[in-house]
């Protein structure tokens, strides 16, 4: 930062140019996908129509007929929203307990929970599939929600814990002196004070749920299948339905892109696990 003082004008311009070029490179694949989604399947595979083509909305209009998009989208919304809500409902009291009533083992418990995130999911995949099938919850929203919640809970608790740690203990203790109940403390003091952090955590959890594929592809067939499953099941290797697949992919990531643009601060904060304040 201090280097700015001595940097020349050309240096500044070249750095800005470099940043723009890199940003374009990063954005290009997304841009390309969105661009392709407005081409017909035939145009999409012809390089001469890269930038100049007759745009069409057909891919989007036919999304329901081609892929039954809205059903999968609805499933994605339902499972991601509820999984996030449940993860917060379980995570907030848990992180609260760890941040304000730590015992000797709190750090160990936190480490241990995080370590489950590092374990290969492959080792738990079959038992979970087996359990869901044997209790008849296979391919149900409920099961997908529970699984999504479980796999994201460690990260959610970890993030909430780091946010809660920043709240001065004295505030909580003052409330305890006044005889506020634990639930009252959480609702009246903790949640308002850590609101920004909670929103970032929720956004992160939502994005992870939305993108999850390893589990949702396995635990669903049609009823509770999410957009990940839809895309996974329809990827055509030879570019047959290039245009329409682009459209459905764009529609699958669209909500995240739009949501992210409006909550840039929370997106960055959430996706970097609270490291960027």
């Amino acid at each position: 930062m201090a280097i700015v003082a001595q940097s020349s004008r050309t240096g500044r311009i070249s750095r800005a140019t470099l940043a723009w070029i890199v940003a374009l490179l990063f954005f290009f694949p997304i841009f390309w996908m969105v661009l392709t989604s407005f081409k017909t399947d035939a145009d999409a595979v012809k390089p001469q129509y890269l930038l100049f083509f007759t745009p069409t909305l057909d891919n989007y209009l036919n999304m329901t007929d081609n892929y039954d998009y809205w059903r999968f989208a609805r499933n994605s919304v339902i499972t991601s929203v509820f999984a996030t809500a449940f993860a917060l409902a379980v995570g907030i009291p848990c992180a609260y307990a760890m941040a304000f009533n730590p015992s000797r083992h709190t750090k160990d418990v936190l480490m241990w929970m995080l370590s489950t995130k590092m374990l290969p999911a492959a080792a738990v995949l079959y038992p979970m599939t087996y359990i869901t099938k044997s209790v008849g919850l296979f391919d149900t929203h409920f099961m997908v929600i529970v699984v999504l919640m479980l796999i994201n809970l460690p990260i959610v608790i970890w993030m909430l814990f780091t946010y809660f740690k920043e709240i001065p203990r004295e505030i909580i203790e003052a409330a305890q002196m006044d005889g506020v109940s634990t639930w009252g403390e959480i609702r009246e003091i903790l949640i308002p004070l850590a609101w920004g952090g909670i929103v970032s955590t929720a956004l992160l959890c939502f994005i992870f749920c939305w993108n999850e594929a390893y589990w949702t592809v396995r635990l669903t067939t049609t009823e509770a299948a999410t957009l990940s499953k839809l895309i996974e099941g329809n990827r055509a290797p030879e570019g047959l339905f290039f245009g329409r697949l682009s459209a459905v992919s764009a529609a699958a990531v669209g909500p995240i892109i739009v949501l992210g643009w409006f909550c840039q601060k929370q997106l960055v904060q959430g996706l970097t696990f609270g490291a960027v304040k």
Binding site: M1, R15, C94, M111, A122, L125, Y126, A213, Y214, V268
Partner: protein, 295 residues
């Protein structure tokens, strides 16, 4: 943790403990229980359904003499090492670039981070198209008159590097954001002192600033590594493991043997191997990293 002798109602502490119970219970039942179950069954000859017919180490024998498994391991090592090296390298350079008080920094940050918000499935799909010789980058470049060959996905020798590019595109922005946060945490005076002493800028970065960014580095390392172990969606969407078995990875091996080849024992053995490998790397490292600071 400071366990100072503050008077505390035992009941309150109890309710706090209760709040942690659901998480601990599920973690125990699902993660530990499920994992143990898998490990036990990896010593059986389960095929279509899990059975407890003891088969000793037979599954492991078969696993380690399978070409596909060896290729999977090799691919994961190549992908893992290179994606760690490059995402940290590029991430750091980009972070240093954005740290120069560039205009629209927030916009850049969001754009760099966008790929990380996309699912691996979509990332894989988009990069499969981009790297397709018939209608991807190559065809566009040819259309412009440059005769180049960019089709890593169709060459068994380099297909994993094609996957690597997509993986880097997805994850580098995240590393960059963390690094940028780390750079922001560096005291301005450090830079001034280094300048007064006449230390070149690159040396300051390498020997002074980087060691100070240890905490964010650790966070980035944990997240990136967790992503590498799980590498599956990207492969499925981008190459499907092909051409042939050239881009297979362990997680896919497990998946395919459990649910496609109806050979559960093999899948269990493979997932146990993954587990053991992760544990061998993770446990000593976790002790070194977190064990020291506990109190």
């Amino acid at each position: 943790m400071d366990e100072t002798g503050r008077p505390r109602r035992p009941l309150r502490n109890l309710s706090a403990k209760l709040a942690m119970l659901p998480m601990i219970l599920t973690a125990l039942v699902v993660f530990v229980g499920g994992t143990l179950w898998t490990v036990v069954h990896s010593f059986t000859d389960s095929k279509l359904l899990p059975r407890l017919d003891w088969a000793g180490l037979e599954q492991y024998d078969r696993l380690w003499s399978s070409d596909r498994w060896l290729v999977s391991i090799e691919n994961l090592v190549i992908y893992g090492v290179l994606s760690l090296v490059f995402s940290f390298l590029i991430g750091f350079v980009l972070a240093a670039l954005l740290d120069q008080k560039i205009r629209f920094e927030d916009t850049f940050r969001t754009i760099f981070l966008y790929p990380f918000a996309l699912s691996f499935i979509v990332t894989g799909l988009v990069w499969q198209w981009l790297l397709n010789p018939d209608f991807g980058i190559q065809s566009v470049l040819r259309d412009w008159g440059w005769d180049v060959t960019v089709d890593p996905l169709y060459d068994p020798g380099i297909v994993i590097y094609g996957v690597l590019v997509a993986g880097l595109w997805q994850g580098t922005g995240f590393v960059m954001c963390l690094m940028l946060a780390g750079l922001r945490g560096i005291d301005e005076d450090i830079w001034k002192a280094a300048r007064v002493d006449g230390i070149p800028k690159w040396k300051t970065y390498l020997f002074v600033v980087l060691p100070m960014m240890r905490p964010v580095m650790v966070t980035a390392l944990v997240i990136v590594t967790a992503g590498i172990v799980k590498l599956y969606d990207l492969i499925v969407a981008q190459t499907g493991g092909g051409p042939g078995i050239a881009s297979e990875v362990p997680a896919k091996y497990v998946y395919d043997f459990m649910f496609r080849a109806q050979n559960l024992g093999q899948g269990f053995a493979a997932s146990t191997m993954m587990l053991v490998t992760v544990a061998i790397i993770l446990i000593p490292w976790a002790y070194l990293e977190f064990g020291g600071k506990r109190r």
